[in-house]
């Protein structure tokens, strides 16, 4: 390496003949010394050559910082080339020599005034790269001038320089008003200046997630779209990436932007194409599906995506990773393009593997024959990973396309006949899945599989084979012998195999109890006594107890019918997919991970979501359309990624991410799993036996890694078996802690405020108008190691509050409080973390008020207003349940129009009407009306018939359910009659109870 630095200078065509090879053979110290002399030479050429040598040494990693003052001295020159070299040196070493770097400032400032625009730009560009605080102060003035320079080349360089300066000193940039200047540049006449300004602003905005820096409005969007047609290919990428962050106001705006972006799909630069695809994929969400244009757009997307596959292999790889996402989101785009994903013999392995993935996703009845033929070809290739994946793919085709199952199985059998070790093992793993998908159909092949028992050396294949033997024990004559042979080396097997073997032998025993008693005892003792693996031991004990207490029940549990496995596997979790679609073309889409998973610091923490998709078909869990609509009104929600969940798992008290918006109804297996973990924990803890957790089902099911992500019903995880409830609760809490801000509807409406004032003036004891029951003890100290919680619910200014008094009746200090709810009927969830900042000392009480949101996960509870809560502190996790008055859920805009009321009342069938009596109430009808209004029960009309006042009232629940009421008050009669009508009659009972409580209070 050393001598090439020498060579470099010799070979430079215009170099002088000064270089001398002996020059470089001297020791390092001498070399530096010589260079010093040359740098200070009077001859320009000699100087230049010396600087070049310095740069060459720098490149190969030698430390030439000692030459700093000498190199800086060369800066004052008219020779632009020399200047550039000196600048390069400065950028590298200025940070290590901050004081001396100041020496360079004058030259920079002078250069920024140079008549030559190239020199002005060079100076401002380099100055921004010198990360020395003292220099940045001097940078401000020249930068300000350059941002307004007459030459566009200088302006475009200055625009990027603002981003550089922001990276060094963000405050300075804000104080100096550079951000505004940068915003002005978006309207610059030169397209390249616009593009660089957009790039700089986007980057700065990324580190200020909440600032409205990139204030995108239709006017700026229009400017960007105009510049898009005129700027360089790179500029087009910056602009398109920025456009992708915009959310159009309506479908018309969305369409008009799409129309102006589509021409970019014909650009030669793949990055321009993919960024355009990103914008289109995102904005398409807003277009009505029946629109002609929507169909046209879908058609336009396919050809450019296919064209990306004729690019260089590296780009193909990026394109394929992205197509993988696009196909999951919109399979219709590429469904006819199967052939282009066929693997070519010379494709690099990374391209081959990705193509295979997409082939499986696109496989359908129409093309399955071709796909299978291809896969069979691939299974004979050389690359082991690729062959394995191909074999697995055949199995997945069988599961996906029923008509092809038979052919797939015979293909797999053919492959097993090749006796290639890894092919056989892979085939057995997938055949097991096929058995599960089509029970009692292909078991005839078991004999062939058993022949290969000896060649299986991978745990997954062994486990699969054992599962097959156990599952079909009654059809395999020598099942006991086979399993026994595995048992010999029990302790050398991996956990996966051990667990499977345990289950398989128990199955065998239940099927052929007479012959296998010895075997089952052997395996149980191996699992429970000789193993230190808790999972294995626990499972062993469970079986043991099941078998010893109730063999019939054991049979029911162990041999229970298994749920069918899903067709689509390896699918990306929908919310993550939505986020990744917003990141098409970027690294996130290559890794299939959210940026927060691989980007440090504040950048990329911002989660992106597709527009307008919150309320669309995905909130399956919502019981009625009302609540789904409610979710879509909320601002774009943010879902913690798996990474966040893990982070939260480690630290329950992690402050919630500073992102906005509540999570929508859960739509992902991940979250369901997390919540269920808690729910199950609560159930079992409270002795609720109504739904026994399906432990055996899961433990019984061998899951290949691919199937792990399949959206199967949430099951127990091994953690649960280990009794680690804390972990489960923590995970749930981590999830629930995410919504920091409140949904828009929580903002106190004006009327509510007025009511409050009125109520205060009236001297009613209730400060906020709404009825709030007195506090009751929810969690007695006895049950919670000294922590007593009493509490109530209140609705204040449109926000539901859970008000608690926490009392420490134990001897030690309590800290680290956190709270988490189980799923409940109205999706109540903490809108923020439990704010108990000070530790709770013994015998101390503390008041805590927890704002609640109503966009949490929904599950119908019995009784309806039951709420199961988990509270954690430094000592343990505690569970309790309480009931909230349904009046908490009456929203402020629950006043119905008269006409609507009449129509609705008639519309609701009479079956849904229920009548109740309220006894011993001595209010007049007006007083009652006033009192109820405080709790958002609105009187719409009043009628007096024969001395009886009839009040017609309406209220609306947070999930959009309307309740209509008719309250009859007869003067002198303390008994009121309430008739309630609602489309969801189950709430009537609760509403009645609230009426009684509100009126009597």
């Amino acid at each position: 390496m050393q001598e090439w630095a020498n060579q470099l200078c010799e070979n430079r065509q215009f170099g002088s003949k000064m270089t001398d090879s002996k020059y470089f053979t001297t020791t390092k110290k001498g070399e530096i010394f010589e260079l010093k002399a040359e740098l200070n030479s009077d001859k320009k050429e000699k100087k230049k050559e010396a600087v070049k040598k310095v740069i060459a040494s720098m490149t190969v990693g030698k430390d030439v910082s000692a030459l700093f003052p000498d190199v800086v001295n060369c800066m004052q020159t008219d020779n632009l080339e020399l200047k550039k070299l000196v600048y390069l040196y400065l950028m590298n070493y200025a940070k290590s020599q901050p004081d001396m770097a100041i020496m360079a400032v004058n030259t920079f400032v002078k250069d920024c005034e140079d008549p030559n625009p190239l020199i002005r730009a060079l100076a401002v560009r380099t100055m921004g790269c010198i990360r020395v605080d003292k220099i940045t102060e001097y940078l401000c003035e020249p930068l300000r001038k350059c941002l307004k320079d007459e030459d566009p080349y200088v302006r475009k360089t200055a625009a990027v320089c603002v981003a550089k300066l922001h990276d060094i000193n963000a405050q300075l940039v804000e104080d100096q008003g550079f951000l505004d200047t940068l915003k002005d540049l978006i309207s610059d006449s030169n397209p390249m200046v616009v593009a660089n300004a957009v790039a700089a602003l986007s980057e700065i905005a990324e580190s200020h997630p909440n600032s409205n820096l990139l204030d995108l409005n239709p006017q700026t969007i229009n400017k960007l779209l105009t510049a898009l047609n005129e700027c360089t290919e790179w500029g087009q990428i910056f602009i398109l990436d920025c456009l992708a962050n915009y959310t159009p106001r309506d479908d018309r705006e969305s369409q008009s932007i799409c129309e102006r972006v589509t021409p970019r799909l014909s650009h030669a630069n793949s990055a321009v194409v993919l960024s355009a695809v990103k914008v289109l994929m995102k904005f398409m969400e807003m277009l009505p599906k029946d629109l002609d244009y929507y169909g046209t757009l879908l058609k336009k997307l396919a050809p450019p995506l296919v064209t990306l596959l004729s690019a260089e292999p590296e780009l193909q790889y990026v394109a394929l990773r992205n197509i993988n996402l696009i196909v999951q989101r919109r399979p219709e785009i590429l469904k006819h393009e199967m052939k282009v994903f066929f693997v070519k013999y010379n494709d690099p392995i990374y391209v081959k593997l990705e193509k295979l993935d997409i082939m499986i996703r696109l496989a359908s009845q129409a093309n399955i024959a071709q796909v299978l033929a291809e896969l069979k070809e691939y299974a004979t290739e050389v690359d082991v990973d690729f062959v394995r994946k191909a074999v697995r793919a055949i199995g997945r085709c069988a599961i996906k396309v029923e008509q092809s199952a038979e052919r797939c199985v015979s293909t797999l059998l053919d492959l097993i006949q090749t006796k290639v070790n890894y092919v056989v093992q892979e085939a057995i793993v997938v055949i097991k899945d096929i058995f599960r998908k089509y029970p009692n159909k292909y078991e005839s092949v078991i004999a062939t599989l058993c022949e290969n028992l000896d060649s299986l050396d991978e745990p997954e294949a062994r486990a699969a084979m054992i599962w097959i033997v156990g599952e079909y024990a009654e059809r395999i004559d020598n099942a006991d012998e086979l399993l026994e042979s595995f048992l010999e080396g029990f302790h050398d097997e991996s956990t996966q195999v051990q667990l499977q073997l345990l289950t398989a032998i128990v199955k065998l025993f239940l099927k052929k109890p007479t012959e296998t008693q010895e075997l089952v005892q052997q395996v149980l003792s191996l699992a429970t006594q000789d193993s230190d693996n808790p999972d294995l031991r626990d499972r062993g004990y469970i079986y043991w107890r099941l078998l010893s207490t109730d063999p019939v029940a054991a049979k029911e549990v162990v041999l229970a019918e298994k749920p069918l496995i899903s067709e689509e596997t390896d699918l990306i979790e929908p919310t993550l997919l939505e986020e990744l679609i917003c990141h098409i073309g970027t690294l996130a889409s290559v890794y299939h991970k959210p940026p927060s998973a691989f980007v440090e610091g504040s950048r990329g923490v911002q989660h992106k979501r597709l527009p307008g998709s919150a309320g669309s078909g995905e909130s399956v869990d919502s019981p009625d359309p009302g609540s789904a609509a409610g979710a879509s009104e909320a601002p774009p929600a943010v879902i913690p990624s798996q990474g966040d969940l893990l982070g939260d798992l480690l630290n329950l008290d992690l402050t919630p991410p500073t992102t906005t918006g509540p999570p929508p109804a859960p739509s992902s297996g991940m979250q369901l799993g997390a919540m269920d973990l808690l729910g199950g924990g609560l159930d079992s803890l409270m002795g609720d036996e109504s739904e026994p957790p399906p432990i055996p089902l899961r433990t019984d099911t061998p899951q290949s890694p691919q199937l792990h992500q399949s959206p199967s019903p949430p099951d127990y995880s091994p953690t649960e078996l280990g009794g680690d409830l804390g972990g489960g609760a923590a995970m749930g809490a981590g999830f629930g802690a995410a919504p920091a801000a409140m949904p828009a509807s929580f903002g106190a409406p004006v009327s509510g405020g007025l009511d409050d004032l009125f109520d205060l003036g009236g001297g009613v004891g209730m400060p906020m108008g709404a009825y709030s029951p007195p506090k009751t003890i929810w969690l007695p100290a006895m049950k919670a190691k000294g922590l007593e919680i009493s509490g109530t619910f209140a609705r204040r200014a449109g926000v539901i509050q859970m008000e608690m008094t926490l009392t420490n009746k134990a001897m030690s200090v309590m800290t680290d409080f956190a709270i988490q709810f189980n799923r409940n009927s109205f999706g109540l969830a903490p809108a923020g973390p439990l704010q108990i900042l000070t530790p709770l000392s013994p015998n101390q009480s503390i008041e805590a008020s927890l704002p609640l949101s109503t966009v949490g996960p929904v599950m119908k509870m019995e009784p309806l207003t039951n709420l199961q809560v988990a509270v954690k502190n430094n000592i343990d996790v505690f569970y309790f349940s309480c009931q909230y008055p349904i009046s908490m859920l009456f929203v402020e805009d629950g006043k119905m129009e008269r006409q609507v009321f009449l129509a609705t009342w008639k519309d609701i069938p009479n079956d849904n009407e229920s009548q109740f009596q309220i006894k011993d109430c001595h209010l007049s009808s007006d007083a009652a009306s006033n009192k109820l209004q405080g709790s958002n029960v609105f009187t719409i009309a009043k009628r007096t018939v024969e001395g009886q006042d009839m009040l017609y009232q309406s209220m609306k629940l947070t999930n959009g359910i309307w309740v209509l009421a008719e309250l009859r008050v007869q003067t002198g009669n303390p008994n009121y009659t309430v008739s309630l009508k609602c489309r969801a009659p189950e709430v009537s009972q609760c509403v009645f109870q609230s009426y009684e409580a509100m009126l009597k209070n």
């Binding site: 090439w4 060579q7 470099l8 070979n11 430079r12 215009f14 070049k52 740069i55 490149t59 190969v60 080339e81 550039k84 070299l85 390069l88 030559n116 625009p117 190239l118 921004g128 790269c129 080349y153 475009k156 360089t157 981003a163 030169n190 660089n196 790039a199 047609n229 360089t232 290919e233 990428i237 021409p263 014909s266 650009h267 030669a268 793949s270 990055a271 993919l274 960024s275 050809p303 450019p304 064209t307 004729s310 790889y317 394109a319 052939k339 070519k344 013999y345 392995i349 990374y350 070809e377 006796k419 290639v420 970027t586 690294l587 290559v590 890794y591 691989f598 980007v599 440090e600 990329g604």
Partner: protein
């Protein structure tokens, strides 16, 4: 954005290292060398994540180019940039080799400073760059020249400078197609497509406005609708359906999108005007018919027939058929009617070369392959038979209809421009399974 850019030789020694962002440390250079260049395994992905730092790499001969970042960058852009960087370097000093990189290191630094600012790619058109970054150091420029340079670098027509003059206005247009095929042993087309490029050399004065027309089905159909019907039947046959096309940045995309007309102000010299892809009605110039027979366990008989399928007046050139042989081949006997055939043990293949072959002809090779007996259970994978060739027509059927040049300011007209058009069809991946 891109945090740094490194160039290594095949040993992993750093030739160029330019860091743009503070989050990329010096150790990043070594991390890539250790984990990728010196890795024992074959490269499994062009993007590598090492300790939360992402490395994008491309290889040119034995030179590695790596872009480094810690952010969620636009990955497609990074690769496009790396390719562009290679193009720019090649345009300055030819082949990208260790020798050339070392000899031009100052120039490369200068280029990197210009085309990547804080990790954001800037104008990277060689035409523009060459006006102010030269191998001969910096020329002194007059004030007008400077203004012209900056306006060109940042301008709307960044790829062409003003004031170009030629005594003879000439245009060379090459339609280069590569035809790709995957055929089953039974002769069924599994997949076939043509990826074509229109490559131009323009030596035109001033700022000429060009318009390019070809037998694009959509355009022809549109014209026929308006025009007379008798003509329609004739030209309709000759038009081709283009699946997709992409253009050099000089082409006005919005105009193509709305009118499907290709108009542009061309760069000076060589450039690629467009790329396109077709899948329908492809003329497959050759058909390969393989016949493989296993005679016992130690012998294999292979017969391959190739048929040329185009006008007999045309000549195909540089024909090469590559027939893979098993790894345990001990000897091969070959008989071929035309050309020369050779067994290349190092490549595990029989290579059969024919210099020229006219259309509508047929030729055949027979081979007897002796095999060493092995106890290897694994079957021979039978890689496909591949073919190379060059034909003087466009297998997609594309025809250039016109290429008009308008230069309103200078007084030369479309007629004064000398235009040359050439069609070359080459084999891409042209494989027949056996």
């Amino acid at each position: 954005m891109i945090g740094g850019l490194f160039i290594y030789n095949h040993k992993g020694e750093v030739l160029i290292s330019r860091v743009y962002r503070d989050d990329i440390g010096r150790n990043a250079v070594d991390a890539f060398r250790v984990n990728v260049i010196h890795a024992r395994q074959q490269v499994r992905s062009p993007v590598t994540n090492i300790a939360r730092t992402s490395f994008f790499h491309v290889k040119r001969s034995n030179i590695w180019l790596a872009a480094v970042t810690k952010q969620n960058v636009n990955a497609t852009m990074v690769f496009e940039f790396l390719y562009k960087m290679c193009d720019v370097m090649a345009a300055y000093f030819g082949k990208i080799s260790e020798e050339n990189v070392k000899n031009n290191f100052v120039l490369i630094y200068e280029l990197l400073d210009e085309i990547l600012d804080f990790g954001y790619p800037q104008n990277s058109e060689t035409g523009a760059l060459k006006t102010f970054i030269t191998q001969q150091g910096i020329k002194s420029q007059s004030k007008e020249e400077q203004a012209q340079i900056t306006s060109q670098v940042t301008g709307q027509i960044g790829w062409r400078r003003e004031g170009i003059k030629y005594r003879r206005n000439e245009l060379f247009l090459d339609v280069l197609e590569s035809v790709n095929l995957l055929m089953s042993p039974q002769g069924q087309v599994l997949s076939a497509h043509v990826s074509g490029r229109v490559v131009m050399k323009s030596y035109l004065s001033g700022m000429p406005e060009c318009k390019f027309g070809m037998n694009d089905k959509i355009v022809i159909d549109k014209q026929n609708k308006g025009g007379s019907s008798e003509e329609g039947g004739k030209s309709g046959k000759q038009s081709i359906a283009i699946d997709d096309c992409t253009f050099h940045q000089c082409v006005r995309l919005s105009k193509f999108d709305s009118e499907r007309s290709i108009s542009f102000i061309p760069p000076d010299g060589d450039y690629e005007l467009m790329r396109y892809r077709t899948t329908k009605d492809i003329i497959l110039p050759f058909r390969v018919i393989p016949l493989v027979r296993e005679v016992g366990r130690t012998k294999l008989e292979v017969k391959v027939v190739i048929k040329s399928n185009f006008k007999s007046s045309l000549l195909a050139q540089k024909i090469e058929v590559r027939i893979p042989t098993p790894l345990n081949t001990s000897g091969v006997q070959l008989i071929c009617m035309k050309g020369k055939a050779k067994y290349k043990a190092s490549e595990n293949a029989i290579v059969w070369k024919i210099k020229r072959m006219a259309g509508m002809k047929e030729s055949q090779i027979s081979a007897e392959i002796e095999l060493l007996p092995t106890n290897d259970k694994k079957k021979w994978a039978r890689p496909p038979i591949s073919m190379n060739f060059e034909v003087p027509f466009a297998p997609s059927g594309l025809k250039v209809r016109y290429l008009k040049v308008f230069e309103p300011k200078l007084n030369y007209s479309d007629h004064d421009v000398i235009k040359w058009v050439r069609y070359i069809g080459r084999s891409g991946i042209y494989e027949t399974r056996c």
